[in-house]
């Protein structure tokens, strides 16, 4: 006996008015009888969207790290810093905790997010039954952490707004900051478009218990 889920029992829940309806078998696009919103038991083409956004984010991750995020113009010349050069500078100047924080928040987290989402999407695609609970937790962590990876962009934006001393010192956001922001937004969109329920869909009645027990 499989674990009863709304989908398996043939129920649909309206995303707008929360009205529960019975699914129409064979119908391509069910609508809510009360408010007329589209009904679907899972987010439509969730995996494909996730993939598309993920791939876009992965491509833009390269210029985000290769191009400068901050252009500092001062009497001592112009300095163009990429994220990694900033981390290296912090590390060399002895601010190891700060360097670690920036490195984790700006490099590791987006990268892990890309990899993790990719892993989740792939596992759903192949209907993997392994470590379902772990994957669920992973998704929750991703959702939580994702917003913090904009830290770098925030810092640059604040500095760029604050340091406007004309010829003495001037900070501009570099093109890298834009790509970085796009990467973060794309990964957030990707994780939003990913439907975590899909993780569990492949799990059978027994597996679910086993998975839950593990």
């Amino acid at each position: 006996m499989s674990v009863p889920t709304a989908a398996r029992l043939g129920f649909l829940s309206c995303h707008v008015c929360e009205r529960v309806t019975r699914a129409v078998t064979g119908a391509a696009a069910p609508k809510c009888p009360r408010c007329g919103a589209r009904l679907h038991s899972r987010k439509p083409s969730s995996v494909a969207r996730t993939w598309a956004l993920l791939i876009a984010a992965a491509i833009l991750y390269v210029p985000a790290n290769a191009q400068p995020v901050m252009i500092t113009t001062s009497l001592f010349g112009t300095q163009r810093d990429t994220i990694l050069s900033g981390v290296a500078y912090l590390w060399q100047s002895g601010s190891w905790p700060l360097a670690t924080l920036v490195f984790v928040a700006s490099v590791v987290v987006p990268l892990l997010k890309l990899l993790a989402l990719g892993y989740l999407a792939a596992s759903v695609h192949y209907r993997s039954r392994r470590n379902v609970l772990g994957r669920s937790r992973l998704f929750r962590v991703l959702e939580f952490v994702g917003r913090w990876s904009m830290l770098d962009v925030f810092v640059v934006m604040v500095l760029a707004a604050l340091v406007k001393l004309q010829s003495l010192a001037n900070i501009q956001a570099g093109p890298g900051a834009m790509w970085f922001g796009i990467v973060v937004v794309l990964t957030m969109l990707a994780s939003m478009s990913f439907d975590p329920r899909l993780i569990w869909d492949s799990v059978g009645e027994d597996d679910g218990r086993q998975a839950g027990a593990i």
Partner: protein, 544 residues
């Protein structure tokens, strides 16, 4: 309770309505990664297309250069950046790897120069102050060659003049470096028109070679006949003409300088070519004196001291400088009788010739004839004091009417010009002769004799004094008596001589008789003269 309503609710849950099928959203989502790919490709292409050529510059030291930060600038525009700094394989130099920006690719030609711009104070001006805070950068000067090059040897000092400044270079050869350094100004009529670019010793060590740059349009004033001289510092000269202080400008005092000018009587010629060679004279007058005048070396032999005569002292004909002393030495003639001072001079015969523009090659024949004629008319060389203050001597030529006949010895090497002793020397000789004679006078003996004589004289005077006293006492009484007697006698005489006195009557009578006697005597003598026979025959009877 909870289950029951749920069960019943579930049973009469409404069916979802069926809507018409919509187009799939599938393709729209994939626009996002497609856009990402396009952006990525565009970025990559742009990065690739903007990457200029890599090249290397070899420097002696990498002081001030930072990999990834130091810029390469041309006319203060960023054209590249230093990417890495390595030691050369032999570790003697530093190889700087740099990358040019794409648009500046054409600047990497064979004769482009690179140097590190650091703050420096040289040549009277301060450069690169901005680099004090902004850090050094690599400056470049683009060459004119067409061939591209990727390996360069960096300059240690920035070139003084950027290659795009119009003008010309000239090469000057000097005997010594004086106070002129790289960056010293070049003056034309006290206007700064250029700079000294570099200087080095000649390869054979024979002098110093300067390379100077004269900006356009002033470079047209440099012709083949232009003379250059050192206008360094303060030129204080003590010479026969007195004290001279010359300077070109305050800057030249501090860092030296070079000035040039073309002789006014020089023939007009084209401006000198690029890298034309000139001699750098030490002084202005030396530079302008000779020009292309012909020079006749001569010697003058003096027997007096030439102390105060210096090399460069003028040879002067009634105030006109017609030559200068080039050397002074001693000579021992064949007979070894005495030493002779030989003064070698350079005579500029063109200055003696009237109204003629000197040509470059002047035959010395007319000069020799003219000189011979002058000497025949009494022109001689003489050492004269130019300045009593300094005691400097000069060689003066002038007419000396009383000079012994002489000729210019043209067969001597160099030809010898006749001389006369200096006036000052003549006076000196006379004074010496007098003093020698004076020295021979036995002043000691004379003094002793004089003293003895004075003693004797003293004694004599004493005697005289005593005598006078005696005379005053004894003789005066006698004299008084004698005078009284004389007065008595004279009174008697006076009485006898009165008009009516008998003596006087008698005398007058006697005198009358004598006169008559004298007349009768004259009568007799006259008669005797006419009738001498009367002396024998007596006076004949008078015939009726």
């Amino acid at each position: 309770m909870a289950d029951k309503p749920a069960q019943s609710d579930m049973a009469d849950l409404p069916q979802a309505r069926v809507a018409e099928k919509r187009r799939s959203m599938f393709s729209l989502v994939w626009i996002v990664p497609l856009l990402a790919v396009l952006i990525g490709v565009w970025l990559a292409w742009r990065a690739y297309s903007q990457t200029g050529p890599a090249f290397t510059i070899v420097f002696a030291t990498a002081e001030g250069i930072e990999a990834g930060k130091t810029k390469i600038k041309y006319k203060s525009v960023d054209v590249g950046v230093v990417e890495a700094i390595n030691l050369a394989p032999d570790q003697s130099r530093v190889v700087v790897h740099a990358r040019m920006e794409k648009h500046a690719e054409g600047l990497l030609v064979a004769d482009s120069h690179f140097w590190v711009v650091r703050p420096r104070v040289a040549g009277g001006n301060v450069e690169g102050l901005g680099t004090l805070i902004s850090g050094s950068y690599v400056g470049m000067d683009v060459g004119i060659a067409k061939t591209e090059q990727r390996e360069f040897i960096g300059l240690e000092d920035p070139p003084i003049v950027s290659r795009d400044v119009p003008g010309r270079h000239f090469v000057l050869k000097a005997e010594s470096a004086a106070s002129i350094t790289v960056g010293s100004p070049v003056f034309f009529r006290r206007v700064k028109v250029g700079e000294v670019e570099s200087f080095r010793l000649e390869h054979d060590g024979d002098g110093v070679r300067y390379r100077i740059f004269v900006q356009a349009p002033y470079d047209q004033y440099v012709t083949d006949h232009t003379r250059f001289w050192e206008a360094s510092g303060i030129d204080i000269k003590l010479s026969a003409t007195g004290l001279e202080v010359n300077t070109e400008s305050l800057a030249a005092i501090a860092i030296g300088g070079i000035a040039f000018q073309t002789r006014q009587d020089a023939p007009a010629t084209q401006p000198a070519g690029e890298d034309a060679r000139f001699r750098l004279f030490a002084r202005r007058d030396a530079a302008l004196a000779r020009a292309e005048l012909s020079v006749v070396p001569m010697q003058m032999r003096f027997k007096e001291s030439v102390r105060g005569l210096t090399v460069g002292a003028p040879v002067d004909f009634r105030g006109v400088t017609i030559g200068e002393v080039t050397n002074i030495r001693l000579d021992i003639p064949e007979d070894r009788s005495q030493l002779v001072m030989v003064v070698l001079v350079d005579i500029f015969p063109d200055r003696l010739q009237r109204g003629r523009i000197p040509t470059s090659k002047e035959d010395s024949k007319p000069f020799s004839e003219g000189a011979q004629l002058l000497v025949k008319n009494g022109v001689r060389a003489q050492l004269k004091t130019g300045s009593l203050l300094t005691g400097q001597l000069y060689v003066a030529l002038d007419f000396y009417s009383g000079a012994k006949p002489a000729v210019v010895k043209w067969d001597a090497r160099p030809p010898e010009f006749p001389t006369v002793p200096g006036t000052f020397v003549g006076v000196e000789e006379n004074v010496m002769a007098i003093s020698n004679k004076l020295a021979k006078v036995p002043f000691d003996a004379i003094g002793q004799d004089l003293r003895a004589s004075l003693v004797t004289l003293n004694r004599t005077l004493d005697t005289v004094s005593r005598l006078a006293t005696t005379m005053d006492r004894d003789v005066s009484q006698e004299i008084r008596k004698a005078i009284a007697d004389m007065r008595q006698t004279l009174t008697g005489v006076d009485r006898n001589l009165e008009e009516s006195a008998p003596l006087k009557q008698d005398v007058r009578e006697a005198m009358r008789e004598i006169a008559r006697a004298a007349a009768s005597l004259r009568h007799l003598t006259d008669y005797l003269e006419q009738h001498p026979e009367a002396l024998i025959r007596g006076k004949p009877e008078e015939k009726p």
